[in-house]
């Protein structure tokens, strides 16, 4: 009952702020709405008992990536008048391709099985369960992706030394 109400509330916030993010003219406002969307999605993770995923989602997306986005937009000082003027053909083609993408999404989600009830009460999202799965069943992909991230970080430090 409580979880259901929270689910609808979070979904409402997520969808509303996502729409606001696209429709608002000011880039900084756009970013702020996107941050709200990320928080709502993190709330969904908490509802599914995936606390680790939810927290990491907030730390990585809302706390790091969006701060960088905001940093770049503030540094370039983008404002409403800085928005590039797009031609009519670009707008029409963007609308059509967006509509086709939406069609694909709706079609694939219609046939998808709603398994919210099944996943709600598992402990798979808790950090020790997740660690066991990552380090036993998916060790190689996990290590490979971490090496990828580490090399990117070392590369950035190395580039700054030049």
């Amino acid at each position: 009952m409580v979880t259901e109400m929270m689910f609808y509330f979070l979904s409402f916030v997520a969808i509303l702020s996502a729409i606001m993010m696209i429709s608002t003219k000011n880039p900084v406002h756009s970013i702020l709405y996107l941050i709200v969307t990320f928080f709502a999605i993190a709330g969904h993770y908490f509802l599914l008992n995936a606390q680790f995923l939810g927290m990491v989602h907030i730390i990585v997306y809302a706390g790091a990536i969006m701060v960088l986005f905001l940093y770049v937009i503030m540094m370039l000082n983008l404002n409403e008048d800085a928005e590039p003027v797009k031609s009519k053909y670009q707008k029409i083609s963007a609308t059509v391709s967006g509509g086709i993408f939406m069609l694909v999404l709706v079609a694939s989600l219609r046939s998808a099985e709603v398994s919210l009830e099944k996943t709600r009460n598992t402990d798979i999202g808790l950090v020790n369960q997740l660690g066991k799965v990552l380090f036993n069943d998916y060790l190689l992909p996990f290590e490979l992706s971490s090496i990828l991230l580490l090399s990117a970080m070392i590369g950035a430090v190395f580039l700054s030394k030049k």
Partner: protein, 360 residues
């Protein structure tokens, strides 16, 4: 979430149990809130007294005995000052900035264990608002979103100095967050848990974590200085270059909230440092004292509080001793010194654990 489920679970068993549960949690939240505000208020007084001590002055001594009513006088002054909102600012974001700064500063206190659990009212009382199993990650996420208050406030002011302050704050936060996270990783490897309550319990009757993680502690401490925007890392508000940095355009209590949030952050990070590395509420020779029940809890809280006060003093001590870094020095320290050191710390911790055979 956990607390709601727990409350509902109690509700099914016994109605009055749930009421006491919620009431206790509510009182605890209120207590933490008031404690944070009081400590922050007296930190402003403490800061002025400490700086006076360092510079051989007397410091505030007019309001009340030894100037002890100074925070109250400052608060009244802040509230009664004229409130200005710049014409060309974005009004909502201008108000939102200090609110977020204050909110995130207060949020982190939730997972800190203030004293050991005691038995009362027919249930176990824990002096921790919520012992979520990912407590450290929670603190980390609150810290990482704390920068939005400064960024939004600085941008909404529509002033180039504020904007520069906001930019500095964001790049500084991101740089030091990584070293901080890696310093905690080594501690988590050693403890094997992300729950703050469990990390503190583990240090009971054992060496405190700083003995095992001296380098990790040092990195964490330096990063805590940077994350709270305290000198020598106070570049976002650097008054010699940027007037007041991100809060140049702020006046009245909105400025007060920004300044207050900094002191609350200081209080919370002192509490986190004491809990993670200095044994939290654990007393030395606790078993030998032979105390139990509420008196032990009171004593534990007192000892924890002493540690917190010491770290707050350390924050001030450093501020009035070490001059501010230049901006490139700050990023140099973060990326090229602290980050490799933190990775080295993880490797050393792993090697020691491997040699000990504590890796299963």
């Amino acid at each position: 979430m956990q607390e709601i489920t727990q409350a509902l679970h109690l509700f099914q068993k016994n109605k009055s149990n749930m009421v006491t549960y919620i009431l206790i949690k509510f009182i605890l939240v209120l207590f933490v809130f008031l404690l944070a505000l009081t400590v922050a208020a007296y930190s402003t007084y403490g800061e002025r007294k400490v700086s006076a001590l360092m510079q051989d002055r007397i410091g505030p001594d007019r309001a009340g005995p030894y100037g002890l009513l100074q925070p109250l006088a400052d608060g009244i002054k802040m509230f009664t000052k004229e409130e200005l909102i710049p014409t060309n600012s974005s009004k909502y974001l201008f108000v939102l900035g200090p609110s977020i700064a204050m909110l995130t500063a207060l949020m982190a206190g939730v997972v800190i264990p203030w004293a050991g659990p005691i038995e009362a009212f027919g249930q176990q009382l824990t002096f921790q608002v919520s012992d979520i199993n990912i407590g450290i990650l929670y603190i980390f996420s609150v810290v990482s979103i704390g920068v939005y208050g400064i960024m939004i406030g600085g941008w909404a002011s529509n002033n180039k100095y504020s904007l520069l302050g906001a930019l500095r704050a964001s790049s500084q936060m991101i740089s030091y967050e990584i070293a901080m996270g890696l310093a905690i990783v080594a501690l988590v490897m050693k403890s094997g848990t992300l729950s703050l309550g469990e990390i503190v319990t583990q240090q009971q009757g054992d060496w405190i974590n700083v003995v095992y993680q001296p380098l990790g502690f040092l990195i964490f401490l330096i990063c805590a200085f940077a994350e709270t925007n305290r000198a020598p890392f106070d570049l976002p508000e650097c008054e010699t270059e940027l007037i007041g940095g991100y809060h140049t355009e702020y006046s009245s209590m909105k400025l007060g909230l920004f300044l207050f949030a900094e002191y609350i952050n200081m209080f919370v990070s002192s509490a986190v440092i004491s809990a993670l590395y200095f044994g939290g509420y654990n007393l030395p020779f606790q078993a030998a004292l032979g105390l139990e029940g509420p008196w032990l809890a009171v004593l534990q809280f007192g000892f924890f509080f002493l540690k917190i006060v010491f770290f707050i003093f350390l924050f001030m001590w450093v501020r009035w001793t070490i001059p501010r870094f230049r901006y490139d020095q700050l990023l140099h320290l973060g990326w090229k010194i602290l980050l490799p050191l933190a990775i080295l710390n993880i490797i050393i911790t792993g090697l020691v654990m491997w040699a000990n055979g504590s890796l299963a």
